[in-house]
């Protein structure tokens, strides 16, 4: 069997290269922190507000034609891309995005009705205006058998997008606090610090990659980030459990060796689980279509980074966070429960 041939009782000295890993992570984190405000995030319409229309290609329409149409309608900051669509016999599609017009601009257009609500609805109508123009430019020959169709269209007003962004940030913060509290409760504060540093590391680097590659950052990305937090935590907990166990077993062994030993003992599990999860995720990335691409990309990246961080950040930091080797504090859950 495959795994038998792998160096099961591995003797990899992870801890000796930790300074190198710290340096690497520090550089990557610094790069992300600089990049994110500089390059910004490519907020999808969930967070930026605006309109999005995806259509299958009308016959004879080139991307330039659609662009010209968008300019003619004076769409605000239009952005038109080609995409490959979803599904096995996927057709080529156009994705048209634009910002919604400002409220005051609309208010001057809309005859006498200057109250705010009318303006909001005008903004929301921007997608309809574009679709009406499209249907005029590329009339359907037959109503039953349309030669092109609207796959999806979204319009999100500014109030909703602000609220969603806030909800997303709150969710990230809350889940980090939950994780910190859980590890504190189950282990000790020294573990907790390492684990949360690793999570922050994963979140910042993921957001950094989204900024670097300018991938759409929307509500599903936040969902992906939360899943990454869960996954990375899962990985870290498995290693920590082992560290605690080995600490009890080898009371005199230097901490560094105990951590190395634990990492090696859990290494094949770490690789196997990451491997199966990645296989599943790659299958979504390749086959799941346009809508899930950003989401599955974030998860793939997160699994890789999360596996790395549980070894080189979460575990390695245990050497620097003042871990107590007092046996009282190294009990596992079963022991705590059976005593009380």
């Amino acid at each position: 069997m495959l795994m038998k041939r792998l160096p099961i009782e591995g003797k990899v000295d992870f801890m000796s290269v930790r300074m190198f890993a710290f340096a690497l992570s520090a550089v990557a984190l610094a790069a992300s922190v600089i990049l994110i405000p500089m390059k910004g995030l490519n907020f999808g319409i969930d967070f930026a507000g605006g309109m999005l229309v995806e259509i299958t290609k009308p016959e004879g329409a080139e991307i330039e034609d659609i662009r010209a149409l968008a300019n003619e309608l004076e769409l605000k900051a239009p952005n038109i891309t080609e995409a490959s669509g979803t599904g096995a016999n996927a057709e080529e599609t156009f994705v048209i995005r634009a910002a919604l017009p400002d409220e005051d601009e609309v208010a001057t257009d809309a005859d006498t009705n200057t109250d705010e609500s009318a303006a909001t609805d005008q903004e929301i109508d921007e997608a309809q205006r574009f679709i009406d123009a499209l249907e005029a430019a590329y009339p359907h020959s037959d109503v039953e058998e349309r030669d092109w169709e609207i796959l999806r269209r979204d319009s999100v007003g500014p109030r909703v997008s602000n609220e969603l962004l806030q909800a997303g940030i709150t969710a990230l913060a809350v889940s980090l606090i939950f994780m910190l509290a859980y590890i504190w409760f189950r282990f000790q504060i020294a573990f907790s610090v390492g684990a949360v540093m690793a999570l922050l590391h994963d979140v910042i680097l993921t957001v950094g990659v989204f900024s670097l590659l300018q991938i759409d950052f929307d509500l599903t990305t936040i969902a992906a980030l939360l899943t990454i937090i869960g996954y990375s935590m899962n990985d870290t907990v498995v290693v920590y459990d082992r560290v605690r166990e080995e600490l009890r077993k080898y009371k005199k062994m230097p901490l560094k060796d105990v951590i190395n030993l634990s990492l090696n003992k859990t290494l094949s599990r770490t690789l196997l689980t990451s491997g199966t999860t990645l296989l599943a995720l790659i299958s979504i990335y390749v086959l799941g279509g346009e809508v899930l691409r950003g989401f599955s990309f974030a998860l793939i990246w997160g699994v890789v980074i999360g596996t790395y961080s549980s070894i080189f950040i979460a575990s390695a930091l245990l050497l620097h966070t003042g871990l107590t080797r007092d046996p009282e504090k190294l009990q596992s859950a079963d022991e705590i429960f059976s005593k009380s």
Binding site: M1, L2, I8, G85, G87, A88, A90, S117, D121, I124, A127, E149, I150, L151, R153, D154, V156, G157, R159, V160, A167, G168, A171, V174, S175, F178, M179, L219, T220, A223, L226, T227, I229, G230, Y231, M233, N234, V237, V238, D241, K265, T266, R269, L272, T273, T276, T277, L279, A280, L281, S283, I284, L287, G288, G289, V291, L292, F295, A333, D334
Partner: protein, 535 residues
């Protein structure tokens, strides 16, 4: 270890069969589903709008507007109360108006202020019964004016009521026959979510939603001089209003309507008996019929205007008293717009203006494509993981894959059984679970291997492997469950679907890894009594 109690076996079989039964309708087509006996579950998992296709709208209710409306009612009530005072007790007032969220008026004689305040306090209607918080505050402002305002509790109540009423009026407007599956539900403080599966034209929905639907019948003041005067000064006399008709005529109307829209019992689209144009028929309720009968008999020869959302639809002359309690509205309607209008009138006016905050439409093709893509990705993912596990663990890999398949059945069973909604990210959650579900198995298998290398016999290696992996598996899954629950509260349809499948997947994978795989191992141990582990 080898004693696997019968109740556990029964539990495993029970859960698996139950899961399979609930999961079954998902793979059947409509006809096959109908042939399922009625005592068995026959509904598949609900598909989210992103998979079925449809329109989803987020609306906000302008609840402040409804507070203003209530203030105007309060003003009318206050004026009526002041006018009932007689003789020595007569409170004489001036400049009554709504300003800065309060009804205000000035007293001609300031010595009456205590009496005026006491009188106004009679309008207090304690919230939630006689002992509740007061609904209004009455005081004398610095400039000597009497000021009546709503308490914060009352304002909150009005705003909540506005949203509730809007939800209850939008339902019948959007789905007049009650057949469709259009969902209208409140969200947050003053928001409403509308979901219309299968719909592809949001404009139609938005038109029906946004129409305030305020219908009134007002008498026309046929005094050309007064109209000219009002047009010149821009200010009609007290008790009159100026309105445009749809045909372009300018009319002076009495501001107090003779009939209001809530006195209409039913309304439907029809055709004009003479010119065959589309019209909107309506029938009054008893009160409406009586009032309309009185008004028409007292005002024979005058015209009355049918006002809809401040535009005069028509202004027919009253030739004789109309006592049968029904009538019609004519205007420049199409069949479609007349039908929409009839629906709006029937459902009644909205208590406050509704604004559209976001529109999301998924076409039917994209939804179907997404389902197919998701199914394909799941199957390929499952096959890849299965091959991987077989290579890694041999026979035990087969056990793990067997558990994984039951796991997927259980996830679908739970989704259908709980009536949860499957969304596209939810499918991704299932695929992710496929990848992560083997984790619990892997943790156990690695422990077994380790114990086996330390010289333990297969039986005791397996036993101790399961024992030692338990706390790790629990810890690892509880953290993921925490993340999933935070995700769930984050809300928004598709993402919520992901959180639900992720959470369900955590429970089912711990169950399958810890109970099912273990059972497989025990059966195998009993049957073969091996001396060496094949892994």
């Amino acid at each position: 270890m080898l004693q696997f109690p019968p109740w556990k076996v029964a539990l495993i079989l029970f859960v698996s069969v139950f899961g399979a039964l609930f999961a079954l309708p998902n793979v059947l087509n409509e006809n096959q589903r109908e042939s399922i006996p009625s005592f068995l579950p026959s509904s598949p998992a609900n598909l989210g709008l992103d998979l079925r296709g449809g329109v989803s709208l987020l609306l906000s209710v302008d609840a402040e507007q409804s507070v203003t409306k209530q203030l105007n009612d309060l003003l009318r009530e206050a004026r009526a109360k002041l006018q009932t005072t007689r003789g020595d007790n007569r409170i004489s007032y001036t400049a009554i108006r709504v300003e800065d969220d309060a009804v205000r008026f000035r007293l001609r004689d300031n010595s009456m202020s205590d009496r005026a305040i006491a009188l106004m306090r009679e309008m207090n209607q304690p919230i939630g019964g006689p002992l509740g918080a007061p609904s209004i505050e009455v005081s004398q402002a610095g400039n000597g004016e009497i000021e009546i305002s709503f308490t914060p509790q009352r304002v909150e109540e009005i705003m909540a009521e506005a949203t509730r009423q809007t939800v209850s009026k939008l339902g019948p407007r959007l789905d007049p026959d009650g057949l469709g599956e259009i969902l209208v539900q409140p969200s947050g403080e003053n928001d409403i979510i509308v979901e219309a599966p299968g719909e592809s034209d949001p404009e139609r929905l938005i038109r029906v939603i946004e129409q305030p639907g305020v219908l009134t019948f007002n008498l026309v003041v046929e005094d050309q001089n007064a109209l000219n005067e009002a047009l010149r000064t821009g200010q009609p006399r007290v008790g009159n209003i100026i309105r445009q008709s749809v045909t372009g005529e300018t009319l002076l109307l009495e501001s107090d309507p003779i009939i209001e829209g809530d006195m209409v019992r039913s309304s439907s689209q029809g055709f004009h008996p003479e010119n065959n144009q589309p019209i909107v028929n309506f029938t009054f309720n008893t009160t409406g019929a009586r009032l309309f009968g009185e008004a028409t008999s007292q005002n024979r020869g005058r015209r009355f205007a049918i006002l809809l959302d401040d535009a005069v639809q028509s202004a027919p002359r009253i030739n004789s008293a109309i006592l049968q309690g029904s009538g019609f509205i004519e205007g420049s309607f199409t069949v479609e717009s007349a039908r929409e209008l009839a629906t709006v009138i029937q459902a009644g006016a909205l208590p406050a203006q509704v604004n559209v905050e976001s529109v999301r439409v998924v076409g039917p093709t994209l939804g179907q494509d997404s389902i197919e893509a998701g199914a394909l990705a799941s199957i390929i993912g499952l096959i890849l993981v299965a091959i991987f596990m077989l290579f890694a663990y041999g026979l035990f890999g087969i056990f793990a894959v067997g558990s994984l398949i039951v796991n997927i059945l259980l996830i679908f069973g739970a989704l259908s059984g709980l009536g949860a909604t499957l969304t596209l990210p939810g499918i991704a959650g299932i695929i992710l679970t496929i990848g992560m579900a083997v984790d619990a198995n892997v943790l156990v298998f690695e422990r077994i291997r380790e114990e086996s290398r330390n010289g333990r016999k297969p039986i005791s290696a397996i036993e101790s492997g399961y024992q030692q992996a338990l706390s790790t598996i629990l810890d690892a899954n509880i953290t993921t469950l925490l993340a999933a629950s935070v995700l769930y509260t984050l809300g928004s349809g598709p993402v919520k679907g992901f959180a639900v499948t992720l959470a369900i997947g955590i429970f089912t994978s711990v169950f399958t890894a810890f109970v099912l795989t273990r059972w497989f191992s025990v059966i195998w141990l009993r049957a073969t009594r091996p001396t060496k582990l094949p892994m």
